[in-house]
Each structure stands twice: as C-alpha cells, then as structure tokens.
C-alpha cells in the first residue's frame, strides 16, 4: 500500500465525507453503536458520536426517542463501574423518566440524575456544567428556542469529555441553524419509527425507514 496515502488517511486534519466502519467518525471521535443495525449502517462512525452534540427533532414526546437511545444507554451503564462513578443526567425532561423501566434494561437507578430547570438560561447552563464536569456518561437536555452562540458553547463543552450528549428539541426548530454534529428528525409511523438524518458529516438528508425493524 502507499505509505504516504495511509499517513494522509490517518491524519485527523483530513475530513472524509464517507468514513470507514470503525468505531470512530471521520473527525476521529469515538462512536457508540446505537444497537439498531439499520441506523448504524447509515451513521458515519457506525454509531452515536461521543463528545459532541446530537440533536433530536421531535413532533412530540413519547414517540420512541428513548427507545432509540436505550441500547446505547445500557452499554454506557454497563461500562461505567470500571471507570468510577458517572451520572446519566436528565435536564428538564417533559415527564418523569420511570426508573424501574430503565432497571429492566440494566441501567442502575443510582446513576440517574434529574435536574429541573424552568428557564432556558438555567437549562443551558446546567447542560454546560454537566458536559464540562467530566463525570457524566450521558447528558440529555430538553430545549426549545436557543441562541446559536449558546449551542456552540455547548458543543465546545461536549468536546471536553466523552459523554453522549443529546438535545431534544421540537420539530418546528428544524429550520433553525444548529452546530450539532448530528441532527435527526423522528417521525412516528403506524409501523414503527422513521428517521431523517438531516445533518451527518457532509451527507444530504438520508431516510432510515422503520429504524427499529429488522
């Protein structure tokens, strides 16, 4: 093989629109398999990118957004004890996540941390603190309108750690600019859940039909 080409491909300065299938996306970030084969195949790193922002755009609560994250969350929870304590942080969720259901999937109730914050500035601040603290394996935040500069700040904060950082925003924010590395629209259908990958490293919108299906 061409050594020079290999060195070039290995360089993190090179941006590749269609990355390989190893557990790192083209920007060199670690990725966590989503647990849904159809989705993994379409994502650049073969999974959720860690240490950056992921944005879910939802038409409503309870359409399968947590089920989508559940396998990854279970994987994080299983890996956590070796690395000391890490929180799975929920900032301003619309309802109460139900701990026994998480325990059924192997996620310890002791790891869940709920933060209630009514005002948007407080929510943004809490998300940033959680991302920067380095003690969180996953940070989930619910936001509506948010300043683009604040979102950039959150992305920088996410880059300081290795957390799975997901922002949940209403579908009407689809047109708003966002620095998130991965943006998904969730679309419930009678059969299951369809996904639109709006923004994922240089590719146009991709549709994942029936993400939970075989």
């Amino acid at each position: 093989m061409n050594v020079a080409l290999d060195a070039l491909l290995a360089s993190s300065a090179l941006w590749r629109a269609h990355g390989g299938t190893e557990a790192a996306d083209p920007a060199g970030r670690a990725c966590l398999p989503t647990g849904w084969p159809k989705l993994d195949a379409k994502l650049p790193g073969g999974g959720w990118p860690l240490g950056t922002l992921i944005e879910f755009l939802l038409p409503g609560t309870g359409i399968g957004e947590l089920s989508l994250l559940l396998p990854a969350l279970a994987r994080l929870a299983a890996a956590a004890p070796a690395a000391g304590h890490c929180w799975l942080v929920w900032i301003a969720p619309p309802h109460a996540p139900y701990p026994p259901a998480f325990a059924q999937h192997g996620i310890h109730a002791e790891r869940l941390l709920f933060v209630t914050a009514g005002r948007t500035p407080d929510r943004l601040w809490a998300i940033e603190q959680a991302l920067r603290s380095g003690s969180c394996a996953a940070v989930f935040g619910w936001l509506d309108a948010a300043d683009d500069r604040w979102l950039r700040r959150l992305k920088l904060a996410a880059a300081t750690g290795q957390a799975l950082a997901v922002l949940f925003r209403p579908l009407r924010r689809r047109a708003a600019a966002s620095p998130a590395s991965l943006r998904l629209v969730l679309e419930p259908t009678p059969a299951g859940l369809d996904l639109w990958l709006l923004k994922s490293r240089g590719r146009g919108p991709i549709r994942v039909h029936d993400a939970f299906g075989p």
């Binding site: 409503g60 399968g64 304590h85 701990p99 026994p100 109730a109």
Partner: protein
Amino acid sequence: MRHAARRGAGALLVQGRTGDLFAPPPAPAPVGVPEPRGSPVQLWLALWLARLPLVVVPSGAGGLRAVVADDGPRRVLVACNDAALALGLTAGLQLNAARVLAPALEVAERDARLEARHMERLACWALRFTPLVSLEPPAGLLLEVQGSLRLFGGLQPLLALAAAELAARGDRAALAVAPTPRAALWLARAAPGTAVESPARLAGTLARLPLAATHWPARALEDCVRLGVATLGELRRLPRDGLARRFGPALLAELDEAYGQRPAPRRRHVASERFEERIELPAELETAAALAPHCARLLERLERFLRVRDAGVGALAFTLLHREHRPSCVRLGRALPAADAAQWRGLLDERLGRLLLPAPVRALLLRSGAAVPVAATSAVLPGCAVRESEAAACALLDRLRARLGDEAVSGTRLVPEHRPEAAFRRVRPEPAPGTLAAALPLAPRPLWLLAVPEPLDLDDGRPCSDGALQLESGPERIESGWWDGAGIARDYYVARSARGARLWVFRPRSGERHWFLHGVFG
C-alpha cells in the same frame, strides 16, 4: 490530653483501658469487653443538671417558672424553679394540677435542641479536666478523672475547682464520684456530693439509694413499690432470674454496670472544631460583586485552617452585616466535605451573582460547619481514580444545587413495590454503587410515567387518544396497597395509538370503569 480527645473520634472508653488512647478506635463493642487484669481503678465524676430545661429557655420576669413537655396526651412539668418548688410543684406534675397550686405560674415549652447544645458546650468545658468525657442525655455528663488526680492535686481540689467554675458559668449541677459511670450518675441524681473512691465501698453506698435515682420506666418503678422494694440494696437481694423475667434483662444489666460487675463502655465526646472569622470591610459595599474578593480572603483563611487539621467542611454560612438592616445569610453546601477555597469560591460566585443586597454591607462573618477528617487522595494509588471520579460527580451536584436550589436536583432509588407509582422514590443524589433490584416486574414498563394518570376519552366504549387505541397486550392485573389507604386495583394494557405511539393504559377494577393513560413507552 486535648489532642487525644480530638484524634479518637467515636472511640469507646473501656473500663480500665486508658493506656491505649492513641490507638485507632476499635469497632464499637459496647458489651462483653473483658477487663484487663491489674488495671487501675477508674474514677468517674458525674454531673447532673436537673434544672437544664429551665436554664436554656429564655427567662421571663415572673417569680414562679416551670418548663413543660408533652408526655403522651398529658402536659407535665419537667423542671421548675425554687419558688415553684416551695409551693409544692415538682417535675412530673400535670400542668393542670400545677395551675391549681400556683395560678401565677409562668410556663415555657421545653426545647430539646437548646438543651443538647448546652450540654455540648459543657462537655467542651469538661475537656479541661480529662480527655475522657462522655455525654449522658438528656442532662448528664460523665468525666473519667482517675488519670487527672495528680495534675489537680487530688480529688477534693479537682471537685472544688469544678464546682467553682460551674458556678461561674451559671450552671447548677449535682456532682458525685464513683468507680463506675452509672453509679456516679445515680449518686449525682439522688445523693449529690457523694464521693466513693474505692470499689469496696461502692456496694454499701449504692444500697441506700432510692430506686427513683435510676430513672427507669415509671411502670418498673411502680412494680418495685408494689413489691415493697424502695432501695437498690433491697432490689439486689431479690433473685436475679425473677428480676430478669419481671423487668427484662436491660434493667438488670444497668444494675450490674452500676455495681461494676459488668463492663460499661462509654462513647467519648469529641469536641467539633468550627471556623469562625469576621472581617470589617474598608468601606461599605453596595454590590454583591464587590464582596467577592473579601469573601475569597475569608475562604483562603478557612482553607489554611482546615489544611493544618487535614480536615474539610460540608457546609458554610456567610453572614452579611448591614447598616440599619438585619443581617442576611448565604449558605453553601458540598456533598463531600472539602477544604479547597477555589471550589468554595465557585459555588459562592453562583450565589453572589444572583444576590440582591437589601442594604450596604459593612462586615462579613464566615462560619463553617463541623470540621471532619478528610483522607488525602493520590492519583497514583489504586482505588483513588474512582474516588477522584466520585469527587467530580459530587462537584457537579454542588454546582447545580448552588444555582438551581437543593430541590431542583434529585436522584432516584428503586422500591420493591407492585404499585407502579410507588416503585421508585426521589432521593437527595449522591454517588452510590449501582445495584440492580432483584425483584423487577416481568411485564414491560414504560420509559415515561405520567405524574398523575390522565383520563382517556371513550369512543364507542373503547379508549382513544388521537384516534382509537389498539390494545396490544394485557391485562396485567396490579392489586396492592390496601394496607396504607392508597390501594389500587387496576388492569394494565399496552396500547398502540393510530400515530404509532405505544401507551400504557389501565382501567380500575371497581367504581367507574374509565380508562386512564399512565405511561408512554417512548
């Protein structure tokens, strides 16, 4: 001596074992510790403050004063002053009866918290006589003075000094000395001023004590009266097995402890150290931001204070003293006790940023909670990386709480319980090792649970939410909780809505058989 008292937090004093004070405290083993042979005899000085409830409550102008407390449904006197005693009032008398005897009686409510604080201050004072001081709630204090006799020139000078200092403090305490702590306490209550130095004379002195000195439950004392027993000596002459059957083993154990036939280990009182410092500001400051550097100065002094003691604190209170306005207070808390000024400052900045000053500030006062020993950590040693990550996890909690408030941050624990809404509880979060509950429900549970079940509309007898619901699985019958008044009897189903959402719905088994939405599988 003071040093020894500080080091051995929670140590137990075991009879006759005063030699190994500097040894690490053994695990509490309150009974059955053998007495080493040839050990020096202990000598316990007991202080009993019969008037404690009266001393700690603010006094009024009246001549007849008493403190009352609830005793079941009745209100009884727990202490009264000399003038009231002269009228025939005593502790234990019902308030109604006392009012008849002395209509002018001024009554105050008992304050147990103030009493405990008073005794703690007294225990700190007692540390000047011996490092072995033990609290006997509610109003007793025990000092092991055998080791201090040489220093004070004998027992009589020590007692005289203690009495004089107590009088100077304004405390009226009954004093007694005996070779065992319990005997000293009983003597202080019933025969103040008695000093028994040799164990040989102990039994004879105790035998004359009335049973009331023991403060045993009223029923046991009444039973003794019915048996014709009035003193400890008479009680000891009764057969032991009969006593144990009648009154239970606990009273017999106390009796043996008093006579020195059974070891009576005591928990040592350890004086807690607190940081308290006040600074006057060079000028009156009007904004919270201008206060920050002065607070930082105090925090640095706190850090130095704690560093030399290898200690940390979990709570701080800044008091801002204003001109012509009552002081305002800023309280800070940490999940792990810590000393570092930088982190405390981070928390303080969150609070100062949103603080509105009611008036200009002229002085600052910083008070800490009790200093507790903190183990130093090193990243190199095994196990410390985990502790570091725990510290980071706690630091996040501290920051979130400082800005959003204590109740805004919560963790959760599972509760083994069939009722879905009672199967978990909110707790104050702290890093804890994860444990999976052994008994999890087998049927699926929704990821989102509604705080209050939502009634569903009915369409042709079938539940609907954005269109008719298809029942996918069920019923799962949950019927539980009849014992605490919040019982449920419901049939749960998993339903799918027309839009594809999976819902957790139920129908009560009795009453109006409406459908309710309880959770979303999300």
